[in-house]
Amino acid sequence: MVSLVREAPMDTCVSGQQAQRRAYVTLVLISLFCLAPFFWVLLAAFDPKASQFLRLPDSLTLAHFHNLLTNESGVRWIMNSVVIIGSATVLTLIFAGLGGYALSRTQAWWKRPLLYAIILVRIVPPPALIVPVYKVMLTLNGWMHGFITGLTDDAALQTTLLRMFSFVDGYLGLILIYTALQLPLAIWIMKTFFDAIPKDYEEAAALDGASQWQTLRYVLIPLALPGFAAAGLFAFINAWGDFLMPLMFTSSPELQTLPLGMFRAFLRVDAIDYGFLTALAVIYTLPAVIAFAFARRFLTQTFSGGVKG
């Protein structure tokens, strides 16, 4: 992980060992607080007798992971999450790339109001949207069902299509809402990165006879790659960790993503399989931690949504 911390401004005046010791004590205490909840999940995931309580395993096993990856529902939850969040991230990147570029280059009167509006859109709390979005999704879902049932009489094909393109209890609805929710931040990030690419590059490419598409493909996209990385990582992390949207829009067990599957398995109070759930928690957390490790270096540039404080 890349450290952002610059060399200390105070190293000219270390007030001796005591300050040093105090610094270590502070850091160790905060680190223990941060690490404490992880010990249980990391031990229980490899413990044949996993329970709700922290304990040192007598022996280690990979059975829980094996069970999870051969168990039909475990694999399905992982696949559902990967498909939905993956698609949403790709869509976010495409739309934010286009939008961010346009917002960076245009001089139109709507540029400034639009950028402010996007900040406001970004801070709309998702829980405040659930009722109206639910109504919107139901309406769209009705149209989509009418369309699909009109399209084919084949029952099996209908089921597959409905699963993929339904707004409620289907992939498409979640993909689109995640894309919409991640777009404001992603657009700001992309706009900021495109701002840093001088217009001369495009003009030079155009003078050399490059087409618009070639300019985009060979000049702009390569230069904006860090921007795409930042926007994509944040979109992925936010959507991957979200719990509210699947809770709202998924009911069939076959369509559950990781958080909802985990939540429902955890609700069966009498039959909680802690080995299965801790292994699942480890697998669910890993991609987010890896993505965060890469995203870390972009964090300061982008938190305010490109807003310079």
């Binding site: 401004p9 922290l54 939008g99 346009a102 540029k111 402010y116 829980p127 009722v131």
Partner: protein, 295 residues
């Protein structure tokens, strides 16, 4: 109708590129946010007669809202949650971490990584991990820890529900505060410190007279972002407590969810959502005006 000049065509192209993003944000965020206002004036419901044919009821939902003790309770819980975790917990520990990591200590990268770890954990897993931490009985992790200090085993999520969720959210957000405040600290010119040292200032004086005043813009930015994001939290608390026991952790997001999808009163839920939208938009407008955001 195709625009003719080169410049006009280019402007047209920019608008075209904006379109997909704008359509999605309009359809799933802006329109629903406005739609919440009109829904809040109806008796719409998930089940029963009103689900078929909802009717206009004027401000009745708001009248009920402002006399509903559960709504006021939810506002109070939200306020305590935001102040306790974002304004105090995350800020104090994050600032402490940032300041300490500015000092010449070893293993900076490792401490940094450890403090960042909770921030990457998905909401559902956060709830799952902390339910084990807070588990009651003498084998619960936290109970075993406090037993060293002679404290009896507690039922943390029942006896101290609000404090518990504040601790969990503090845990999750230290990294965010630390990273933002570190970037603020590193932009303070070093000559200021050197000049102060030459003049014989103590560490404490330097902190209160130089570091803190110079950090004010960053602290303001942090307070804004963390307040807005904490105000929008749902999953973290829902997976831990679902708003209980007895509404003691029912932050605004959970109150909206419970009223709309557990009590099936969509119109009333929309009225609560309107309050939440108005609060966050006011915060947002204040922020944009105060910072004079550079575009």
């Amino acid at each position: 109708m195709k625009p003719k000049t080169f410049e006009a065509r280019r402007q047209f192209g920019y608008r075209l590129m904006m379109t997909p993003a704008l359509v999605l944000m309009a359809a799933f965020i802006v329109f629903p946010a406005l739609y919440a206002f009109s829904l809040s004036l109806t008796d719409d419901a998930l089940l029963g007669f009103a689900a078929q044919e909802s009717s206009f009821v004027g401000l009745r939902n708001f009248e009920r809202l402002f006399t509903d003790p559960l709504f006021w309770n939810s506002l109070k819980v939200t306020l305590i949650f935001v102040i306790g975790s974002a304004v105090i917990g995350q800020f104090v520990l994050g600032f402490l971490s940032a300041l300490t990591l500015q000092q010449p200590v070893k293993y900076k990268a490792i401490f940094n990584a450890i403090i960042c770890l909770p921030n990457a954990v998905p909401e559902m897993v956060v709830g799952f991990l902390w339910i084990s931490m807070f588990a009651s009985g003498e084998y619960g992790t936290l109970n075993r820890l406090v037993a060293w200090f002679g404290v009896e085993p507690q039922q943390w999520l029942y006896t101290f529900p609000l404090l518990s969720i504040i601790i969990v959210n503090t845990w999750r957000g230290i990294a965010f505060a630390m990273i933002l405040l570190t970037s603020g600290l590193s932009s303070i010119p070093k000559d200021l410190y050197e000049a102060a040292r030459v003049d014989g200032a103590t560490d404490r004086q330097i902190f209160w007279r130089i570091t803190l005043p110079m950090m004010m813009p960053t602290i303001f930015l942090y307070m804004f972002i963390s307040t807005v994001t904490t105000f929008a939290i749902f999953g973290l608390v829902y997976t831990l407590s679902r708003g209980g026991p007895a509404n003691s952790t029912e932050i605004l997001g959970i109150y909206i969810y419970n009223q709309s999808f557990t009590a099936f009163q969509l119109g009333y839920g929309a009225a609560v959502a309107v309050v939440s939208l108005v609060v966050s938009m006011l915060l947002g407008i204040l922020y944009v005006r105060a910072l004079k955001v550079e575009v």
